[in-house]
């Protein structure tokens, strides 16, 4: 079983969450170029190892949480 640490509910089964994906920083829409915006939309680090990512706790507190997960082993530690 894969456990994700929810800061509000504690460690919960991954099946309770919806995957949001790799955390990316959003450029300022007013100041960005189309190319930069598309890089934000599509380009990902996709590392084999530690990844900071978003999850939505659908079957729990229904809040967005940030998780650090090792994508090689699925072991996760988290923070709010």
């Amino acid at each position: 079983m894969i456990l994700l640490p929810c800061p509000w509910c504690g460690p919960r089964n991954v099946g309770e969450f919806r995957y949001v994906g790799e955390t990316v920083s959003r450029p300022d829409p007013a100041a960005t170029t189309p190319e930069e915006w598309r890089r934000y939309l599509y380009m990902r680090r996709n590392p084999r190892g530690m990844l900071r990512e978003g999850w939505y706790h659908t079957m729990g507190c229904r809040r967005y949480v940030t998780v650090d997960r090792d994508t090689a082993t699925n072991a996760a530690g988290g923070q709010p």
């Binding site: 991954v14 099946g15 919806r18 995957y19 994906g21 790799e22 189309p34 190319e35 598309r38 890089r39 939309l41 599509y42 380009m43 990902r44 680090r45 996709n46 590392p47 084999r48 990844l51 990512e53 994508t71 090689a72 082993t73 699925n74």
Partner: protein, 375 residues
Amino acid sequence: MHGLAAAYYLAANHGITDVAVLDKSYIGSGGSGRNTAIVRSNYLTPEGVAFYDRSVKLYEALSATLNFNVMFSQHGHMTLAHNDSSLRTMRWRAEVNKLQGIESEVIDEREVNRLVPQLDVSPHARYPILGALYHAPGGIIRHDAVVWGYARGADAAGVHIHQNTEVTGIDVSRGKVTGVVTNRGRIATGTVLNATAGWSSTVADLAGVPLPIETFPLQAAVTEPVRPFLHTVIVSGSLHVYVSQTDRGELVFGASVDPFGSYSTRGSLEFIEGLAGHVLELMPSLSKMRLLRQWAGLCDMTPDFSPIMGFTPVDGFLVDVGWGTYGFKAGPVSGEAMAECIATARTPAIIDAFGLDRFEAGELVGEKGAASVGH
């Protein structure tokens, strides 16, 4: 397989034999040895259809070309429609396909029932079957044989294949590739083709080329063998499941990718439970079948369910990646096109739409409708 096919065509079509194929494990240890071997060309976009059609043609001749039996069974491919909107997209797909000379048609539920009597076509089913997109030349192939056949052909032509050789670095000097570093030594070269599917981001990182790829596991399962009764591949997009029967009699089940990205290939109970439930909704008579195995492979998913092929901003560093859940059927045409790319230093027309630059340009291909479950 993509790497081996490219090496084979470099030698066979262009006489280039100073080629090394490197694999960190054994050949076929990636998706090419784990896929469910569906081959078809009934995609949705004209670019996609032309491309996959060429691959089917190469597959039809492959046993003879390689003098190695790849056991291509073109016994048909059927995508079920459970609602009006999928029927509508299927009509669209059938017309795009026919326009390009591909056998592809929408059939009604009576015809579905005639072809596969085991399917529950009653109107009371949770997901009633309203019709299907039927693609007669689609089918399944012996995936291991394709890998071995290309490897044998490439080897015979003078290509070197190095297994258990992991690429750990790519030397780039002034924007140009100069060599590959591996755990078994360095190779000086001006050309590197990255065809590492689920691991392609990790290898592109070595050359400093970012990719719009996320790696997701895809699971599949197989039952004990039974007498042949299923003579077509069945796909249900709404139920996220597909079924085929191998020449040995096993039923092979597949689905969509796992719900989150990962490089782990560990199977999950959630997957197998969901899969079994959905298979039984389609074919209640399979309830006594026993599963033998489940497994997972890594899929390099792109935002538009289409591959990324050709040159990159680093001179000499080429990619043949983004094969997601549908790249086995494309091995021959990709190998052929990548070999041409390398030999002529130009992008062949057949892969023009699939360049890495399409993402920054905002010119995505849009195959999701035909590729997300059906592979």
